[in-house]
């Protein structure tokens, strides 16, 4: 019983991290059809932003305030990744709309440069971010089943981010403009929407969410320049599995991959578990080539 419960919690925890990473991708890949391989590096930027915030608190503020650095770090990570996203969109991505494979290669080049930049600034070795003390320890569900607060916090953060995104996309004017542009660019442009601005904003929001993911990852362990590459492919698999264009698909995709990953790793070994998950994804795509939640339309291709 304890084993089952803690495995389920583990699975949920992995799913929540995957989801947080994939949410940004669901926007840039799902809505804009841009394959942003630098997404992992935006996560890294968010993580280092948290690291820097922590250091600033340490150096300039009284120790009693240190525990609250994390509350500030979340918006700071979002903002820095958001701004970087804006720059990236304006300088590179906008030349690559409609060429997804090229966007993949070019952004991979950006990823390389960002990684190297991080190595130059912060050094190649991993750095540790000290989590606030109020996230230490965990909730004891029963003997042998402890749910760490850090992981619970991440799950909560994902839910809040998800809600915010949902409200933004489906309930705000800006979100309506965004959906209009993604669904029918020409028409939206005729109606007086600045598609350029919407593209830039959409991409930047996707990047900003990556920043939040990076901030959350500092709770899980030390961070380094290659932080993003560990997660990026898994996150892309989530979007592919979930189907493009709908948030629900991404949520189910992340939960599915996270749960099965935990399950298979528990049954076999970490490396075989990954193979099995991959086989399952390919098998699943036999049944639904367009992913779980696919938008069907008359225009094929």
């Amino acid at each position: 019983m304890e084993v089952i419960l803690s495995q389920i919690f583990n699975g949920l925890s992995i799913s929540s991290i995957l989801l947080l990473i994939a949410l940004g991708l669901a926007i840039t890949f799902g809505l804009m059809n841009v394959i942003n391989m630098a997404h992992g590096e935006l996560i890294m930027v968010g993580a280092y932003a948290t690291y820097v915030t922590q250091n600033l608190f340490n150096d300039y503020l009284p120790a009693s305030l240190f525990n609250w650095y994390f509350v500030l770090a979340i918006p700071v990570s979002f903002l820095i990744a958001f701004l970087l996203g804006l720059v990236l969109e304006a300088s590179l991505i906008r030349f690559l709309y409609g060429r997804p494979l090229d966007s993949l290669l070019a952004t991979w080049g950006v990823a390389l440069m960002l990684q190297q930049l991080a190595r130059t600034i912060f050094g190649a070795p991993n750095v540790a971010v000290k989590s606030p003390t109020w996230l230490d320890g965990g909730m004891t569900l029963m003997t042998g089943v402890v749910l760490p607060y850090k992981r619970l916090f991440i799950i909560g953060l994902v839910i809040v981010t998800l809600l915010a995104m949902f409200l933004y996309i489906y309930r705000s004017h800006a979100g309506r403009r965004m959906r209009a542009v993604m669904q029918n660019r020409e028409m939206a442009s005729c109606l007086g929407i600045s598609t350029r601005r919407v593209d830039a904003l959409t991409f930047a929001i996707g990047s900003g969410i990556a920043g939040i993911a990076g901030c959350a990852l500092t709770l899980m362990g030390p961070i380094g320049p290659a932080l993003g590459t560990y997660y990026i492919v898994d996150a892309f698999m989530v979007v592919v599995l979930g189907g493009v264009g709908k948030l629900v698909g991404t949520i189910i995709g992340a939960t599915g991959i996270g749960m099965f990953n935990t399950l298979f790793e528990f049954w076999t070994s970490a490396s075989l578990g990954k193979v099995l998950v991959f086989v399952c994804i390919v098998a699943f795509l036999q049944w639904r080539p367009k992913g779980l939640v696919a938008m069907r339309s008359r225009s094929l291709d």
Partner: protein, 361 residues
């Protein structure tokens, strides 16, 4: 067709090929042993680039998984060399992991012929299998690309995780001889260089035959409009599977040759970064031209060996910037740039980009 006549232009091209081939085979005369060894490695990479160009440049399918195929070939040959180096005892890393007897799947690799065949067939069959489960269901474009990248991750994780059978992170190394000849001797190295040069030439001829045949025209037709090709009566999935498989086989062949020259194969050689670097070789040389792809591989690796040792940081910046510049400004690579100067009407139309999410037919 009307191309059969020997126009002056064709004559120049033929002379160019002849000069290049001569220079290639005479390289041992004018290069030091060290440089020759480097060149041999680059030639092996050029074989990968040719295969990658078949699937990407000519068929429009981007694979980020060629590191796996390359690695499988390298591991197949590495297993043979390892067994030969170990003689009657077990390979050293197996002993460290407490394995008592040679695992069954290692046994056949005692034979060189088996290892050489497996080095090409294993990657080709893996590609055929992956292609069967993707192209048939029209999983293509970025979806396919991401799946190939996932293939890289799981393969490297698997090899690292199964340390007792694969040598783990360290990979396979400590090779001594091939057919009883020392791998380190200058004579053997020269011989292996010739073998590699001949393999590259063979791969080039094979690829050229493929792309110049009607088969090659169907490939380009599939790249231009997969659905249209389907409504003419071609089954794109079969073509894509076959090309992907040939391409993987070539990468496997290159991997085998790589092991001879470098003497080590480890998961880091087949990881995500090397896999995507292979794509850059083709992109920079010019996708859709065989000679461009091969030259791209050789030149970029030459530049890498010159710069990366002395300026490792600057090299990664340079590599990243190169990706961006080539993709945004030089979609046809160096050869395209060269061609653009001569033949202005050959501007790449936007039709060549694979339209995803937009209706094409």
């Amino acid at each position: 067709m009307q191309l059969k006549r020997l126009t002056p232009q064709r004559l120049y091209i033929l002379i160019g090929y002849a000069v290049a081939a001569t220079a290639l085979f005479c390289a041992p005369l004018y290069l030091s042993d060290f440089r020759l060894n480097l060149l041999a490695k680059f030639l092996a990479f050029a074989i990968v680039a040719l295969g990658l160009d078949l699937i990407w440049g000519y068929t429009g399918i981007l694979s980020l998984g060629h590191g796996v195929f390359f690695g499988l070939g390298a591991y197949a040959m590495g297993m043979y060399l390892k067994l030969e180096a170990s003689g009657t005892s077990l390979p050293d890393f197996m002993g460290w992991s407490g394995i008592k007897a040679l695992p069954w799947f290692w046994k056949p690799f005692e034979s060189f012929a088996f290892a050489a065949a497996a080095g090409i067939l294993l990657p080709a069959l893996l590609a055929l299998g992956l292609g069967y489960f993707t192209f048939r269901n029209r999983i293509k474009g970025v979806y396919f690309t991401i799946l190939t990248q996932a293939l890289v991750i799981i393969t490297t994780t698997l090899i690292i995780g199964q340390q007792a059978f694969t040598g783990g992170t360290n990979g396979l190394t400590g090779f001594r001889t091939i057919f009883g000849e020392s791998l380190g001797s200058a004579d053997t190295k020269r011989m292996l260089y010739w073998v590699t040069a001949a393999a590259l030439l063979g791969a080039f001829v094979l690829c050229r035959f493929l792309v110049k045949s009607r088969f090659g025209r169907v490939l380009r037709a599939i790249r231009d409009g997969e659905n249209r090709a389907r409504f003419i009566g071609y089954n794109p999935a079969i073509y894509q599977m076959l090309v992907f498989s040939i391409s993987a086989g070539l990468a496997g062949l290159a991997g085998m040759l790589f092991v001879f020259h470098v003497g080590i194969i480890s998961p880091s050689t087949m990881a995500i970064v090397p896999s995507i670097e292979m794509v850059l070789w083709v992109a920079i040389g010019g996708r859709g031209t065989l000679i461009g792809a091969a030259l791209g591989a050789i030149l970029l690796n030459y530049a890498k060996s010159e710069f990366s040792a002395s300026y490792p940081d600057a090299w990664l910046f340079f590599l990243g910037a190169l990706f961006v510049v080539v993709v945004v400004f030089l979609p046809k690579g160096a050869v395209g740039l060269f061609g653009k100067l001569k033949i202005p009407q050959r501007r790449q139309s936007k039709h060549e980009q694979e339209p995803i999410g937009h209706s094409a037919v």
